[in-house]
Amino acid sequence: MPQHTFTVNGKTVTVEAPADLPTLWALRDKLGVTGPKYGCGIDVCKACTSHLDGEAFNPCVTPVSEVAGRSVTTIEGLADGELLHPVQQAWLEQDVAQCGYCQPGQIMAAVALLRRTPTPTDADIDAIENVCRCGSYFRVRQAIKRAAELMRGA
């Protein structure tokens, strides 16, 4: 069984798994990193959204062999210890989450958006495809705008 070494939230890990095992299951079943969620397994619902070398990716369709030697950040690695990322802070301010299941993915998608586009328009936010079955979209939108303010130091 091949071994794959990469970093998860700043820590170097090695997992023994078939090369084509989706990274989602390497994280959840082999490493106990359960922040990224299964929602569809085919890159549609985006509940597993995390970052690979700082950019949004969907571990449910990314083989673990492709992340070897690279840096994975999940929702667990977003905050600096107890100090929350501005997007997480905005999420708390707006009380976005209902069931919460999609929220790690929503937050990681929002962080990636704000990294590319520090002042996103409504159209930029519309491009986020993450499903929230509780229908919290309006608060997600408000929280992204608020996070943009926080990150500008407003």
Binding site: T34, G39, D95, C99, Y101, Q103, I107, D126, F138
Partner: protein, 732 residues
């Protein structure tokens, strides 16, 4: 009163509180203008489903467990399921209010299945806050009284000389004691406390204050644990290969040896619902179940497709015959497709079944029913089956059923090890539960400027209520003034469906078509379709009578309370403001479970095949509001449900199976489909809480459909309005 020792900590545990029961009757509170013909109250005006469930739960309503620990925190064991609706936060606020403790120091845990609670452990019919508002306040008030009595004894002052604030009791002379230090003394059964009553509502400082969810931080940091995130020792990833049609069964597994030899595969078992595969990872379990070659027996609805089902439903709802003898008829017929619950967390459960006992973890809204079902299936006594309720990743009615918990228990027994079972998204949509398809025939008759009659005949595919609510109804059925002797579905229909208007002779009836499919209550049960359709007809009636939709509703609603909510939404939403071509406003009203709501939406329907709600104004009166932020979340979610099910989201049934298998096919709304402007207005809070969890959906459906009609000139008749098979279905 019991006191208990947990390890070395002595704690105060309360098991006592007197239930307060209010069957609020706000019906016909204001006689309406003489010009309209009053309608008699419907059964749901007198006693709604929530009332029935509160009555069934009353004998055990005092059996809440509230604990004060030496660290100064309080912990409530809530016999309900949190699935996103925010009830743990509201419950914590009620405890904090009565106990004079900051909300951050109140913990709320979900109770295991407790059979002694009988009918008082079911989360449904928007009923949690209505049913626990009194009991939680009583329990917390009693806890505070006991802490005060303990402090009085310690400080040797009368309790009247003591005040409580933020978990500290202070005497007039300045001496103080913390709750945590008094927890043991307060648990002394010899301690005397007199009659305890909760604080008057006018003194509330926590209740009614916008409060963030108590679990919000866990959710945004990835620490919130759902069923499959639990670390149950030895529990292995498990998935099930299911039949090509609903309720199909395994005839033979044709490549068992090949699949057993696949990487990571540890066990395989045939169960009533398919072939279970246990593997080291879910990825491997998924590959293995897909690789299985299985010969299947047929299912229960193999010959049914959308056209055959629609034909059956249309035939089941009797027509109205020719034109009315007097007046002018507004006739309308509607068809609603099946709709998946589709919570983000698919059906899942962890089970550890041994020879003489079983332990199960799952998001369960009716855990006592789950416990009974699992015990029966395993041949174990009920008290040998432990059922833990985990916080769920959405439900919308889905987790009333313990399908996954039962299936996981059967797999665990079959393979002789603990399992963590996850349904694939495809299976969750195709073999999971759905809101039943329905057909509606409505006739409203008006003459001389008045509405003479309003009749609504509903035919629906049978909705499964076999999750315990039926037992509660049966227990109370003999006492129902209006619904004795009816089957569950009829009771649910009659205790939830009513018209808020004076429309003369009013009648609503339900005929069910029994088809062996997997159905279940979907947020707002019958109301989304039934009341949604009625709100469309109200608009058409207004047009036929030459009235404005808001003016018509103002005239024909029954009460001033309803009219106040309507006026608020119409004013704040600028009803009647000029809209560009292709845009329109739409409005609708709904009342249930002692609450009423108005949705006013603005729809961009320049492309009728892809309309978008761009703005929404919502006004609501739910009586006593515990957490305004939580209430707004519920109304926002209901708006998104309305957008989805009205415009694009449904299931196509094709030869015994839904075609949809993921969110790329079942078009639940995304960010691009949701409005950029939503404003919610809550009427002044009074009295006791009404229901709010399901309230918004029917009004959202009606408002969006009415906006679509006004923007496009097309009558909305089949839902969802845009429903092509715009995808390649997954293989069966």
């Amino acid at each position: 009163m019991t006191s208990s020792r947990i390890g070395r900590r002595t704690v105060l545990t309360l098991l006592v509180a007197a239930p307060t029961l209010t069957v609020a009757g706000n019906l016909l509170d204001t006689p309406t203008a003489d010009a309209v013909l009053p309608s008699l109250p419907a059964p749901a005006d007198i006693l709604d489903l929530g009332d029935v469930l509160i009555l069934a739960g009353t004998p055990t309503a005092h059996m809440l467990v509230l604990r004060v620990d030496p660290d100064g925190t309080a912990t409530l064991r809530l016999p309900r399921a949190e699935v996103g609706q925010g009830i743990t936060t509201a419950a914590a606020m009620l405890v904090a209010e009565e106990l004079d403790l900051p909300v951050e120091r109140v913990r709320v845990e979900l109770d295991d299945a407790r059979p002694e609670l009988l009918f008082n452990q079911l989360t449904g019919s928007s009923n949690t806050i209505r049913s626990v508002y009194g009991p939680i306040r009583n329990a917390a008030a009693l806890a505070r009284a006991r802490l005060l009595a303990a402090a009085a004894a310690r400080l040797r002052v009368p309790t009247g000389a003591l005040t409580t604030r933020a978990g500290v009791i202070t005497a007039t002379d300045g001496r103080a004691a913390r709750y945590g230090d008094l927890a043991a003394a307060a648990a002394d059964p010899k301690l005397f406390v007199g009659l305890v009553t909760p604080k008057p509502e006018r003194d509330f400082t926590v209740v009614g204050t916008p409060t963030s969810r108590i679990d919000a931080r866990a959710m945004v940091t990835g620490k919130q644990r759902y069923t499959l995130d639990l670390d149950v020792p030895g529990a292995l990833p498990t998935m099930v290969r299911r039949a090509p049609t609903i309720n199909g069964t395994v005839r033979s597994v044709d490549n068992e040896a090949v699949v057993r030899a696949m990487p990571g595969v540890l066990a395989l078992a045939v169960i009533p619902t398919g072939v279970a595969v246990v593997a080291e990872t879910f990825g491997q379990a998924l590959d293995a179940k897909e690789a299985l070659a299985v010969t299947w027996n047929g299912g229960t609805v193999d010959d049914e497709s959308d056209d055959t089902i629609t034909a059956k439903l249309r035939a089941a709802a009797p027509g109205f015959g020719g034109p009315p003898l007097l007046g002018r008829a507004v006739d309308a017929e509607f068809d609603f497709a099946f709709v998946s619950h589709a919570p983000m967390e698919t059906n899942s459960a962890v089970a550890d079944v041994r020879a003489d006992r079983a332990e199960v973890w799952a998001g369960l809204k009716s855990p006592i029913n789950a416990q009974e079902g699992i015990a029966k299936a395993l041949g174990l006594p009920v008290d040998k089956v432990t059922v833990h309720v985990t916080q769920g990743g959405g439900s919308f009615g889905r987790r009333l059923f313990a399908d996954a918990a039962l299936e996981a228990a059967l797999v665990s027994r079959a393979v002789g090890r603990p399992v963590k079972l996850m349904w694939s998204r495809v299976d969750d949509m195709r073999h999971g539960r759905a809101r039943a398809a329905s057909h509606h025939k409505i006739r409203a008759v008006h003459a001389l400027g008045n509405v003479v009659s309003f009749e609504h005949r509903v035919a629906g595919v049978e909705t499964d209520f076999g999750h315990g609510v039926g037992d509660a109804i049966t227990a109370e059925a003999a006492q129902l003034p209006v619904a004795g002797g009816l089957v569950f579905a009829q009771v649910v229909f009659l205790t939830t469906i009513k018209s808020p208007y004076n429309l003369g002779l009013t009648g609503q009836s339900l005929t069910e078509v029994p088809l062996k499919m997997h159905t279940g209550s979907w947020r707002s049960v019958y109301s989304a379709n039934t009341r949604g359709a009625e709100e469309i007809v109200v608009d058409e009636l207004a047009r036929s009578m030459g009235r404005d939709p808001v003016a018509f509703r103002r005239e024909f609603l029954k009460t001033d309370r309803q009219r106040a909510v309507l006026a608020k939404a119409a004013t704040e939403g600028q009803w009647g403001r000029a809209m560009p071509a292709g845009f329109a406003q739409g409005i609708a009203f709904h009342e249930e479970y002692k609450s009423c709501v108005v949705y006013l939406v603005e729809l961009d329907a320049r492309d009728p095949a892809d309309p978008r709600v761009v703005r929404a104004t919502i006004a609501v009166d739910t009586g006593r509001v515990i957490n305004p932020r939580g209430l707004e979340s519920q109304l926002l979610g209901a708006l998104t449900d309305g957008i989805s099910t009205t415009l694009r989201a449904g299931l196509h049934i094709d030869r015994g199976l839904p075609l949809e298998g993921s969110y790329s096919q079942f078009h639940y709304a995304r960010q691009k489909d949701s409005p950029t402007d939503v404003r919610i207005f809550t009427m002044p809070t009074t009295g006791t809480p009404g229901g709010a969890g399901e309230l918004g959906v029917p009004a959202a459906v009606g408002a969006i459909a009415n906006a679509y009609a006004r923007a496009t000139g097309r009558k909305p008749r089949r839902f969802p309005l845009n429903f092509p098979v715009d995808f390649d279905p997954f293989p069966r």
